[in-house]
């Protein structure tokens, strides 16, 4: 019970910190603009959203792995880097809380922030419902997958944010790491790999990719293996964050 109260306190403070800076609003506006632009204007061919002939949000979700590549590291970069630079980490970790409560609390705050940004795309859902009869189950599934994927990117950003005091460095490293998570399952890369690697290797590499797992969500398939993939990526990354922070403190 105590643990939950501590996590809640930290999450609340961290969320408030996002909205205390204009960065949060800038982020949300950029995210919404990107979503709008790519969904309606860019597609396999121009205006794919309207030409698809069917009411769905396929052209919306397909871009998410790429939006998040830059946006999520920008949200996550300050989490620990700032805390270490200003010295508030010393304050936070000498409070009567465990370090994992602090890590989870801060992570949850950013994840909720991303959830809010995602929720603000609701006019798209209304639009497709007005234009036609989409399968709202598929759309919900897409949102869920997108949020889980954002959480996975975010957890990776937690690691890089714990590694350095410089937010910019954290940002760059996590973009690179997240790019790997995408490319491992990106169709051109898979084609290239299957040219010389055995199919089982290609499959193993693709299984590490967020794209492979996000694909099912987009199709409206809620497979527990995909959920487990994202959740375990999050848990593993937060665990690594804890190890890195402990390493800094031990000197």
């Amino acid at each position: 019970m105590n643990a939950l109260a501590n996590i809640k306190t930290i999450t609340k403070r961290e969320l408030a910190a996002y909205f205390a800076s204009p960065l949060a609003y800038v982020f949300i506006v950029i995210f919404l603009l990107l979503c709008g632009f790519f969904t309606f204007m860019v597609g396999t061919n121009l205006g794919a959203f309207f030409e698809h002939g069917q009411a769905s949000l396929d052209t919306f979700f397909i871009w998410h792995p790429w939006f998040y590549l830059f946006l999520v590291p920008a949200v996550g970069m300050r989490l620990w880097a700032e805390e270490r630079r200003v010295g508030t980490m010393e304050l936070l970790l000498t409070m009567p809380i465990t370090s994992w409560q602090a890590i989870v609390g801060k992570f949850l705050a950013s994840w909720l922030f991303l959830a809010l940004a995602l929720a603000l795309t609701f006019p798209l859902v209304i639009t497709v419902n007005v234009l036609g009869h989409p399968d709202n189950g598929v759309i919900f599934c897409g949102y869920l997958g997108s949020w889980l994927m954002a959480g996975a990117y975010l957890a990776v950003s937690c690691i890089t944010s714990a590694m350095t005091r410089a937010q910019v460095v954290s940002f760059i490293i996590s973009v690179v790491l997240c790019l790997f998570l995408i490319l491992a399952g990106f169709a051109p890369v898979i084609q290239f790999l299957s040219g010389w690697a055995s199919p089982s290797v290609v499959q193993a590499v693709a299984a590490c990719s967020v794209i492979t797992h996000f694909d099912n969500f987009q199709k409206g398939v809620l497979d527990s293996r995909d959920v487990v993939f994202f959740l375990s990526l999050i848990v593993f990354s937060l665990f690594t964050t804890a190890v890195i922070l402990r390493g800094h403190r031990a000197g």
Binding site: A16, A20, G87, E90, L91, T94, M95, P96, I97, R249
Partner: protein, 318 residues
């Protein structure tokens, strides 16, 4: 309340803290003195559980800081070096967060915040963002955070650093008053603070304790402690020093100053003086016109220098 036994910290191949042991009881204010880089902050970070010791133990209120960190941390308030605070928050928001995470619920929370605000004179900036505060106010905000739960143990790393003389005076008074009911450790490199606030002081140098005692005891370690200063009028310095040298309790005589017909001398005690030096010198000076006769208490800065800088040339840190 605080027991530190054999505390040691290695940073790579460098030993920052080297087998420190001491304890602090309720009602004591322990001053932690030492030159920069002596290991004061590192010791305090181990006491407050921020960094794990390489070896040795810390117990706070009976709880081992490594094995029962939550219980130990609950009893402690901590003001880290440079008084960090969440700059995006207001003073009130920050103190409210500190109270909440310290487990203060319901009506107890606003009461605790109010108390800390009053003690640290923060009313005028209560709803200002910490980012916009002057250094003194920012410092006091972090100070307020450390006492918000009225802790039994208070650990403060350079609590008067960066404050103006009035603020320094206020903070010292606050520490002294709170020290009556708490166990307090604070570090400083300002020697006057030892007299102003401490009941006991520890001097550390390169990770080791080199002196531990009350301010008076420490003073007595100085070379000048127990020496007697004599100023007489109308006699030459040669005559005075010749007569003082014949006093059996005097080891050495130094002429300090000779002007306007007065001469000042300092007589250092021999090992058999036993505090009788002033009386003996008073007798020897009979017949002269005595303007001053005073036993020196010794000086802390002298003790500090003699204990912490025996090899100035070799020190890597300043």
């Amino acid at each position: 309340m605080i027991q530190v036994v054999g505390l040691t910290k290695w940073f790579g191949a460098k030993r920052a803290v080297d087998g420190i042991s001491f304890s602090v009881a309720r009602g004591e204010v322990l001053g932690f003195l030492g030159p920069n880089g002596a290991g004061k902050s590192t010791t305090m970070r181990m006491i407050t559980g921020f960094i794990p010791p390489s070896s040795g133990r810390v117990k706070v209120g009976g709880f081992d800081v490594v094995e029962q960190p939550i219980q130990a941390k609950r009893l402690m308030g901590y003001l880290p070096e440079n008084a960090p605070a969440y700059t995006d928050m207001t003073v009130h928001g920050f103190l409210n967060f500190a109270a909440e995470i310290r487990g203060l619920r319901g009506a107890a929370r606003p009461r605790a915040v109010q108390r800390a605000v009053e003690m640290c004179f923060l009313e005028s900036v209560l709803h200002q963002s910490i980012e916009t505060l002057s250094k003194g106010y920012r410092h006091r905000t972090c100070f307020a955070q450390s006492i918000i739960h009225d802790p039994e143990v208070l650990v403060m790393d350079e609590p008067t650093d960066g404050l103006d003389p009035n603020q320094k005076h206020e903070v010292r008074g606050l520490i002294r008053r709170m020290g009556e009911k708490k166990a307090i450790i604070f570090s400083t490199h300002i020697l006057e603070e030892v007299d102003a606030a401490c009941t006991r002081a520890i001097i550390i140098d390169r990770g080791r304790i080199v002196a531990n005692g009350t301010p008076t005891e420490l003073r007595q370690k100085s070379e000048g402690a127990g020496a007697v200063t004599l100023r007489v009028k109308g006699v030459g310095s040669a005559e005075v020093s010749a007569r003082l040298r014949q006093v059996s309790q005097v080891k050495r005589v130094a002429v300090l100053e000779e002007k306007n017909g007065s001469v000042s001398l300092r007589a250092f005690p021999a090992s058999n003086a036993n505090g009788e030096l002033a009386r003996a010198i008073g007798e020897a000076a009979r017949g002269w016109q005595i303007e001053q006769l005073q036993t020196e208490e010794g000086r802390l800065d002298e003790v500090f220098r003699s204990l912490t800088m025996p090899d100035t040339g070799k020190k890597s840190e300043t």
